[in-house]
Amino acid sequence: MEEQAIDKSVLETGEMILNMGPQHPSTHGVLRLKIHTDGEIVSKIEPVIGYLHRCFEKHCEKLSYEQIVPFVDRCDYLASMHMDHAFAITVEKLLDIEIPERVEYIRVIIAELQRIASHLVALGTFGLDVGAITPFTWAIRDRERVLDLFEALCGARLLYNYIWPGGVSHDLPPKFVERTLEFLDYFDPQMDEFNNLLSNNKIFIERTADVGVLPAEVGINFGVTGPSLRGSGVNFDLRKNEPYSIYDKLDFDVPLGKGTMGTIGDTWDRYYVRVLEMRESAKIIRQACAQLPDGDVHEAIPKKIRPAVGEVYGRYESARGDVGFYIISNGKNIPLRVKMRSPAFSNLAVLSEIAEGWMISDVIAILGSLDIVLGEIDR
């Protein structure tokens, strides 16, 4: 190595290794990217993760099922309800218990509201990544309304501990359905305005169309799921493909990337799929609110969760993709092992595949369009 260094001519150029993160405005948390650059062109990206590792899976081996729920919240802190819901349906599968109809409807309403809130953060921060600051504040303003609803629901604004195995912690507060419908009426025109400001902006399209194309096969091979995969035109949504809860009773479409502004699976498609998904979520909430039955939300909550010996794998379509919980029970009230499949982890893995060869600015845009949450990747 040293001999080589001596032989090198003074004028010889080489690649520069740029250390992006863990403290960087656009890595969406404490992600570190080692970027090999040739001028502005990026030739190699190595994501380095683990700065937010909290030993989630090890903790689960020492905690009872009820106590795991708050930990699950902290995995994907932008879509805590989805994590709660995913864990709850997995444990219910293990316990093999029947859930009251009302609980299922409440869960779906809450999950879709959470999807809207999570996608708003994704779109807003994506705007920040490409340099537009105002859309971010608009998105956060609308997300605030969803958080207000959640606050009325369970008192918490970010980490809810709301959906428990067997039920939910509180029934809907008075006027919740009216307030939700009011929010949806407010939200639809806001999305049009958001599209005018950002999605259809000429500069935004120039920055995102045809950039970082994720071909469908590559996405499937890397295990990419959720809106990032649907942006490539793959019709895969667990709410349709493996319906859980009451999704099979509801009428909604799965938006797919169509390559409107460029190639199918480019950054703009991944972005726009999320915009369309929020509209579908609104549709689902309206239906669920209209059909909401009466009942007791606490009746199916077990006094003590002590599943029989066995193992179970539950899948759930969260805002980031396919969340999976694999639980092994040895008959005690504490699980023997909990393994979580993190969608953001698989989505991040594809970054070095699709972002190499683009410029530094594009890497930021592509990373933003994958919508990762480090709390979930590192667990």
Binding site: S26, T134, R207
Partner: protein, 366 residues
Amino acid sequence: MTSILDSLVKSFSSFNLDIAVILPIVTIIGGTVIFLIMAVNALVAVYFERKISAFMQDRLGPMEVGIFGFKGGKKFWGGIGQTLADAIKLLVKEDILPNNADKFLMILAPFIIFTGAFLTFIGVPFAQNIVISDFNIGIFYIFAMSSIGVIGVILAGWSSNNKWSLYGSMRAAAQIISYEIPIGLSLLLVVLVTGSLHLGDIVQWQADHRWFIFHSPFTFLAFFIFYISTIAETNRTPFDIPEAESELVAGWMTEYSGFRWALFFLSEYANMLIVSIVASIVFLGGWLSPLQIFNIFPDSWLILDGPAMGLFWILFKAVILIFIMMWIRWTFPRLRVDQLMYLCWKIFIPFALVNLLFVSLWELIF
């Protein structure tokens, strides 16, 4: 056109002082005036920008700090003391120089950038006779002096010994030098028509004929090429790729803080004012009243015209241009570096060159 320096020298001469004594005094007074203009401009423009961005984003912006800093004053003053408080904070901040930085260059760089903005102000007229020193090559001088800053940017990026800074300064150098060409070509077109480099003469020409932006379709186009290029020249969104806070952290300013960073800030806002004033002088009739172009108002309205109102009209036009810059900044995303270069070399420069040709033909025919 008499300048402030000339009139000062004349008035000091009445005290029978030696010219060697008068000149330093006059120079110091002139410099102080420029510095005051820059400082006040930064204070007002920053407040303006924060409030505008806040209103665009459903926020209130600064609301707490009143002019005297006490809480009772906040409702009326609406946070007007915020920029003053920020300026004081920047001045008393700890002075940080990274260990491996090239300390001499790092200290020098902000002053070079500041000098560029400072020297430019010497030639910028604020009204018919309000100019520090009246150059007969004013437009050329302003154009030349505003290019000094880029040396400071390169020095700042290189001396910080930080990869982000280096990226920022390389981008800045490429961008600022490229965009000087369309700016220069657009100004050349004005010089070609009026036949003078003197800003006073250019305004006089517009008073005799019509505002330059309305002179012909080509000058109309030239104004937009000039204006968009100056946004790029002042590193503002959508052309803020040298700073690009989401990509390069803070670009070439990453390692700077406190007083030196305040100098960058001061120069940035000073440059905004300079380009807006130059655009209003060259294309929008300078200190001429906009009421003149319509000519439908009764004579009593002429009180809004004339030398006394010149300062008002030129600042009025400049503030509108600055407002549009802020409006654009808080609306648009940022371009990528290659798109920026594409826009400059493949769109603006060919258009500016063709413009120049057609304006020459236009002048030949009409």
